[in-house]
């Protein structure tokens, strides 16, 4: 394995690093005047990095050829698929950001800061490393690079108390999660003497000892924090509510993909031979996330908090695919992730478009009463997104639940699937409440502001994906997800 091959596999990350550093210089010398240019350049860099993924995604890569830098990284189809989703989500968030920061919603600090796109780039770089990690050290490096950038992003509005609070909470709880994760990793290392995924797997071939089991549990708990799965979800509503809305849109999409992909890699590649040890944990977390995500959302008045609970709820369904513990389940999980990213991004962009005359943002139920009369375009888009999130056909959100539950039933977990799907009905309640407020209530007419082109483009794109037209995407999406899942199971 020579260095040039490794660098070839590492090309997207290299590109992101180089452009991140270059843009940092632009930000330092150009100041906030060039923030918009920075955002455009960052989005282009992400697009270019995404373009580099296409050949591998198309043909499907797995096996030994995908290891880079010894066995530190594994750039297989699975990593490529996750990266593609992360880059797309990040581009979407970057596109809608400038308009938000230039409006009154940004409070006393009008105008986007030039380092904002740079931070997004570095966060994406961290995620990119996370999903292709094949060693505990690489994993932690990527995770922390992502987290550190994310803490700053959450509190980017320095004068805004809620934003600062969100950043602090995110930092404290994120650091706690990292600590738990590190402790678990140290246990794994201590009981095996290696940090390499392949070696760890070989060492853990027999029955798990108590120490190893503790290591596994701590690692899973740390990761559950990152994907905000119940019972480690408490930070999510607060951080989502406090962070600026484009940042929240970012948090609910790209880092989720990265953390879920990382979790899948750990459980399948390191503990692929120990399914019994983690399957029950994941099953419990999945069910608990579905139920508590749904119950927690019912009483919410703030739409961002509501969507935070909705993301917890969705993580439950994603983990359902993981709990199946076979390639079909992993593929279903990836399909779900893709559709979830589209729905989540679309919903947050929809929220971003709810603004008054002078640009102040609206984010409670009381503000969107009768939106269907005052702003039918936004209201109908949100209606489709909400029904899609609730999993009602013919919207694509149904297909995401369809594949996950199909995989669950085919693996013989019928009772588990029945309980989970019955719990999903609880979730439907608050999604249709959203629709009720927009369509059935008398209009209040506070949402009057015009939205920029960028918002409309992202909203229309995501709505087109989740509309019934999206079903035409499913054959190719399934094909890509199958290849990615197969790469994950090459050792099994």
């Amino acid at each position: 394995m020579d260095f040039s091959t490794s660098f070839g596999l590492f090309a997207p990350e290299l590109l992101l690093t180089a452009s991140g550093l270059a843009l940092l210089l632009v930000a330092a010398w150009g100041g906030d005047r060039l923030a918009r240019l920075n955002a455009i350049l960052a989005a282009s860099a992400l697009f270019a990095a995404g373009f580099l993924l296409v050949p591998g995604l198309h043909s499907g890569v797995d096996g030994l050829d995908t290891y880079a830098f010894g066995t530190l990284m594994k750039v297989d189809s699975f990593a490529l698929f996750a990266k593609a989703m992360i880059y797309l989500a990040a581009i979407g968030c970057l596109v809608v950001s400038p308009a938000f920061f230039n409006s009154k919603a940004a409070g006393s600090e009008r105008g986007m800061r030039a380092e904002y796109p740079v931070l997004v780039l570095f966060a994406v770089l961290g995620m990119s490393i996370m999903v292709s990690a094949s060693d505990l050290i690489t994993l932690y490096l990527g995770l922390e690079l992502n987290s550190l950038a994310a803490y700053v992003l959450a509190s980017i509005l320095r004068q805004d108390q809620r934003s600062a609070e969100a950043g602090l909470k995110y930092f404290v709880l994120g650091a706690l999660a990292s600590g738990i994760l590190l402790y678990g990793m140290s246990l794994l290392y201590g009981f095996s003497g290696t940090t390499d995924f392949g070696m760890l797997r070989a060492v853990f071939a027999g029955p798990l000892g108590t120490g190893q089991l503790f290591g596994l549990i701590f690692v899973l708990a740390g990761l559950a924090f990152k994907i905000s799965a119940v019972p480690f979800h408490m930070w999510t509503p607060d951080v989502y509510e406090g962070a600026p809305t484009p940042v929240t849109a970012f948090f609910s999409t790209a880092p989720k993909v990265a953390a879920v992909a990382l979790t899948a890699r750990i459980v399948f590649e390191v503990f692929g031979g120990q399914v019994v040890a983690w399957q029950q944990i994941v099953m419990f977390t999945a069910l608990a996330s579905i139920v508590f995500g749904a119950l927690g959302a019912i009483g919410q008045e703030n739409l961002k908090r509501l969507l935070a609970y909705s993301s917890i709820n969705n993580i439950g369904f994603i983990l359902l695919g993981l709990a199946v513990a076979n390639a079909a389940g992993a593929s279903a999980m990836l399909v779900y992730l893709f559709i979830y990213v589209a729905m989540s991004l679309g919903s947050f962009v929809g929220l971003l478009m709810l603004r008054g005359d002078d640009g102040e943002l609206f984010e409670t139920f009381a503000d969107i009463r009768g939106l269907a009369v005052t702003r039918p375009g936004i209201a109908w888009s949100l209606l489709l997104l909400m029904f899609s999130l609730a999993g009602i056909p013919p919207l694509l959100g149904f297909y995401s639940k369809f594949v996950v539950f199909q995989a669950t039933v085919e693996a013989g977990l019928v009772a588990f699937a029945a309980i989970a799907i019955a719990a999903s009905v609880i979730g439907a309640f608050y999604y249709i409440k959203f629709v009720k407020v927009m369509f059935f209530d008398e209009p209040v007419g506070v949402v009057t502001g015009k939205s920029g082109m960028a918002h409309w483009v992202v909203l229309v794109l995501t709505v087109a994906i989740i509309s019934p037209l999206g079903y035409l995407l499913t054959p190719s999406l399934t094909d890509l997800a199958d290849k990615a899942a197969a790469a994950l199971f090459i050792l099994n």
Binding site: P393, V409, V435, F440, Y471
Partner: protein, 520 residues
């Protein structure tokens, strides 16, 4: 007709109409509303014309599945449509009622007309799709998607308590159907295909049939609805706008019956036979209980809603009689109930538009000032009771004759439903149309307009046609029902009537003994 994708066209026409309505409706109901109404009427009439073409080209006695189309557009399931005689008749019912619904909403709906018509047209696409789907998951997509337009129709254009009713309708129905989805996954994994005609021939293991049957039952029993899962229905009916009630009673309830006929009975015959007593027991309670409840209602729509539950219970006993009479009776009763209850809701809508109340006591003696209306209302009342010569008689008679061969008790109890039906319907009619005109405003109501004539007359004609010459409607379904009956024969429970065809007597029964010529 070879090769022309008529079923897809029938689904696309209302879909395109729906999208058009959304855009021409615009923000201004004054200017956009008229255009939306026009688009909706044209779209539904074109679909109805296509439906007639479909019926005319349906080869009675030909292949079981006709007009089949197939395209592998999606991963996991395919776009496969096709119809047999049963689906044909239910599609005809849907496309027949839709233009009438548009007419019924012509003046009653004044706000957000474009969105309203779009919801209805989208609903029509989904109804046709549900009956035509030949892929299990495609069926589920169409079946479940109907929740969205119906939720909006009840919630936006409904009565005072519309929010509660729309939530209840949505969540109740959703909870019922998600369990069915799990059962579908299991079936497809077991049989290796999601093709409905293949699945209908597949023998599922007897042990699994029980829970599969209950999973499907959860969905269809809520939809049809059976006692005690019916509580969403009176709320939804009462709060929905007139046309919403017509579609709800006319077509959506039939989805439940269709589900039993298409899935539960042919796919799980043993489980169906095993739980037939359960269905019969619930139906017997439903017939008597809901009829008694209907008797004390003060709200016209609620009364008709409860009568729907009672009639659908008779459909259920017909289905679970496991013989040709019962199945044919259930189908005819479903078609008849679709027309009759739809027409009754239209009749309520006609006077509701004039007086804006559904209180029975606010009317009285309106046969004096609205004689034509009274005639139509009387006809549909009689059809609901099951008077010979109307469609209701044919269906109820066949269904009850079918169940008599299986359970004398069920036949006895369900027949009291007809007597009770006569009681509550005639009582309703007397209070609304006859008697003294105590309310001045009710006495001043004008008789039906030309638009209302156009709405009610075709339904009346169809009711009489089905009552006098039901063969037109039974003929397309005969082969399919015979096939289903043959499939069920092995599992059919033993009847307690043990009917034996006797040998006819040599001479007529009242013949006088012949004793020779001399006696005169």
């Amino acid at each position: 007709m070879d090769g022309f994708p008529i079923l897809t066209t029938m689904m696309l026409v209302p879909l395109v109409g729906a999208i058009l309505c959304l855009f021409v409706g615009g923000k201004n109901d004054e200017t956009g509303g008229g255009a939306a109404r026009g688009v909706a009427l044209v779209a539904t009439l074109v679909t109805f014309a296509l439906g007639i073409l479909l019926w005319a080209n349906f080869d009675i006695g030909g292949a079981q599945w006709q007009f089949t189309e197939r395209a592998d557009l999606f991963a996991g399931f395919s776009y496969a449509v096709g119809i047999d005689g049963i689906a044909l008749m239910l599609i005809m019912l849907s496309v027949f009622l839709m233009p009438i619904c548009v007419l019924a909403s012509w003046e009653a709906i004044r706000k957000r007309v474009g969105e309203y018509m779009a919801a209805f047209l989208f609903m029509e696409t989904l109804m046709i799709g549900t009956f035509a789907a030949q892929d299990l998951f495609l069926f589920y997509v169409f079946f479940e998607a109907g929740l969205i337009p119906m939720y909006l129709i009840i919630g936006v254009w409904g009565g005072d308590n519309r929010i509660y009713a729309s939530y209840k309708f949505f969540l109740y129905t959703l909870l019922g159907s998600v369990l069915m989805l799990i059962a579908m996954f299991w079936m497809v994994a077991e049989a290796g295909t999601s093709d409905i005609p293949t699945l209908m021939q597949y023998d599922f293991p007897i042990g699994a049939q029980s829970w599969l049957w209950f999973a499907f039952f959860a969905s269809f029993a809520v939809k049809i609805p059976m006692w005690p899962f019916h509580t969403w229905l009176p709320d939804a009916h009462v709060q929905a706008p007139t046309a919403g009630s017509v579609i709800l009673a006319g077509v959506l309830l039939k989805l439940g019956g269709y589900g039993f006929l298409r899935f539960s009975l042919p796919m799980f015959p043993e489980a169906s036979a095993q739980f037939a007593w359960f269905v019969l027991a619930l139906s017997m309670i439903a017939v008597v209980y809901t009829s008694l409840v209907a008797l004390v209602q003060q709200d016209m729509k609620k009364l008709i809603a409860y009568s729907s539950v009672a009639h659908m219970a008779i459909v259920m006993v017909g289905l679970f009689a496991f013989n040709v009479q019962g199945l044919e009776g259930a189908m005819i009763l479903m078609l008849s109930h679709g027309l009759v209850s739809g027409a009754l809701f239209l009749c309520v809508g006609v006077i509701y538009d004039r007086l804006h109340t559904r209180e029975i006591s606010r009317y009285g003696g309106i046969s004096n000032n609205m004689p034509y209306y009274a005639i139509f209302f009387l006809l549909f009342t009689m059809a609901s009771i099951g008077l010979p010569g109307t469609s209701g008689f044919v269906g109820e008679f066949l269904a009850l004759a079918g169940i008599y061969r299986v359970s004398t008790l069920a036949a006895l109890v369900c027949t009291t439903g007809i007597i009770l039906g006569a009681a509550y319907m005639l009582y309703l009619y007397r209070r609304v149309a006859f008697g003294l005109q105590t309310n001045d405003d009710a006495a001043a109501m004008p008789d039906i307009t030309a638009r209302e004539w156009v709405m009610l007359a075709p339904v009346a004609a169809a009711v009489l046609w089905m009552g006098v010459y039901p063969e037109s409607f039974i003929a397309p379904m005969r082969a399919d029902i015979a096939a289903l009956d043959a499939q069920l024969a092995a599992a059919a429970p033993a009847g307690d009537s043990n009917l034996v065809v006797g040998s006819p007597r040599e001479e007529i029964a009242n013949a006088m003994p012949y004793e020779g010529e001399g006696d005169h």
